[in-house]
Amino acid sequence: MPDIGLFDVIGPWMVGPSSSHTAGACRMASTALKIFGKEPEEVKFTLYGSFAETYRGHGSDKALLGGVMGFDTFDIRIRDSFELAEKRGLKYRFIEDHETKTAHPNTVRIELIADGGESRLVTTAVSIGGGKIKIIRLDEVDVNFTGEFPTLILKHCNVPGVISYFTGILSDYSVNISSMRCYAEPDGKTSYSIIESEQPIGSEIIKDIRSNKLILNSILIQ
């Protein structure tokens, strides 16, 4: 049974008009921003399915752009996203893809670029209704998490012992793992592990985990 709380029923606070196409759009983009971890210089949104059809009428474009500027679903600056992005010098593009068939009708691909092109992250997200979202792809890897809970994403070498290594550290710090999934990159050499917890994960824990060379990168969303 999904855990539904009072404020999932009456909420979120949001800029209209659509919980899936406006609030959800904003959350997809703000989650992508959190994963990216820095201010982007450029962003490209590819809109599929019903997003490609109706994004203008639902203000999805403004909400997506607002999301990558770090606005929350109820921030009325979303209305002025285009002007605000221009003021910040954030370059943006919306690409409608009416051809590609996606598994979920509300899919958006978000490409964030910074450091003059040196840093780049491609996140694919779906808006699953009521303002809720899921991240389904990070760069080349299929994933599945919401970003609602403290989430630690580790990129690591795909060799025996790595997983027990970092889960050991988490348990040393008494961090309770509520869900964990591992995904191997197509090359088979590197993997992503996505760990969700109910408690915040402190920076000292990340430092400990990162001290091992087999851990290539870490992203913390909370």
Partner: protein, 302 residues
């Protein structure tokens, strides 16, 4: 949650001698995310966002994206001010405020999804009309808020509140059922009466399809919010007079969901049927999004 059906909820309330709002508050605290004070505090803040969501467009009417809506709430409030209204101040305010929230929503103002953005007018419309006309305090409104939350929880847990899944009977239907129960509790009715008002409210909207013109949450959505608000008040009135519906809440919710699943997809938010597929609905869509000739003929025939 301490309850997973309407029947369990009523049993719990009767066993503990508590209201639905108290049962919901306890259940929310038991989830372990917030304590009692924090839940109440967030509910109060949410109520304030709701209040603004109807007040802003009443004071400053705004045009929706695409221009379908334009100051309807204000016009209704004006009529009431001039003493010309038909429905009496409580109902007129409820429909004026609920329509106002929809203007706010479609003009990218801030609303509270209750339970969805498309149905976000029903609860605040009725709540603030009740506050003004019956002199309810904010604390009394918070009780209604919690009671509405319990009904919405059951809707989400055991059926759906998504128009795309089960039609407008799920979306406006949920908002109206939540609000009907809340009104009963705010007027001093029993938990059984509150859920009975919800059940009647669901039965009144059984089969209602989701058919937004141009796929936008504007028309018929705005009018449906007004209808959801007046339906909630109507059902509460019936129950408070001592008449209880004969089909219990859980059965009514279940049958609503089954009907929703049987609905063709053209009547579940795809904007391919109902109001959206009328010649006028198509004309508006073309006006807003530009014409799509190839699709047109097919769609209007469906």
């Amino acid at each position: 949650m301490a309850f997973s059906s309407g029947e369990e909820l009523i049993r719990l309330c009767e066993a503990e001698g508590i209201s639905i709002s108290e049962a919901m508050l306890r259940a929310e605290v038991e989830r372990g995310k917030q304590n009692r004070e924090e839940v109440l505090d967030f509910a109060r803040k949410t109520l304030e966002v709701m209040r603004k969501s109807y007040q802003e467009p009443l004071e400053k009417p705004v045009k929706s994206i695409g221009g379908i809506m334009n100051g309807e709430g204000h016009k209704l409030a004006q009529r009431l001010k001039n003493g010309e209204n038909l429905c009496g101040p409580l109902v007129t305010k409820a429909i004026a405020y609920s329509m106002s929230v929809m203007e706010q929503n479609s003009a990218m103002g801030c609303v509270v999804a209750a339970p969805t953005a498309g149905s976000s007018g029903v609860m605040p419309g009725v709540f603030f009309a009740m506050q003004e006309e019956r002199g309810l305090s904010d604390d009394e409104l918070i009780k209604g808020f919690l009671c509405a939350g319990a009904v919405g929880y059951l809707y989400m847990r055991n059926a759906s509140v998504a128009g795309a899944e089960a039609g407008c009977q799920a979306e406006i239907g949920a908002a109206s059922a939540m609000t009907a129960a809340a009104v009963v509790e705010m007027c001093g009715g029993t938990p059984a009466q509150a859920l009975s008002a919800s059940a009647i409210s669901i039965s009144n909207l059984l089969g209602l399809v989701c058919d937004p013109i141009a796929g936008l949450v504007q028309y018929p959505c705005q009018m449906r919010n007004a209808m959801g608000a007046s339906n909630a008040l109507t059902c509460a009135e019936i129950v408070l007079s001592g008449t209880m519906g004969i089909v219990p809440f859980d059965e009514m919710l279940d049958t609503m969901y089954k009907i929703g699943k049987d609905m063709p997809s053209s009547l579940r938010e795809t904007a391919l049927g109902g109001c959206a597929a009328t010649p006028t609905g198509c004309k508006w869509r073309n006006k807003i999004f530009g014409s799509k000739e190839s699709k047109d003929g097919k769609e209007s025939k469906e």
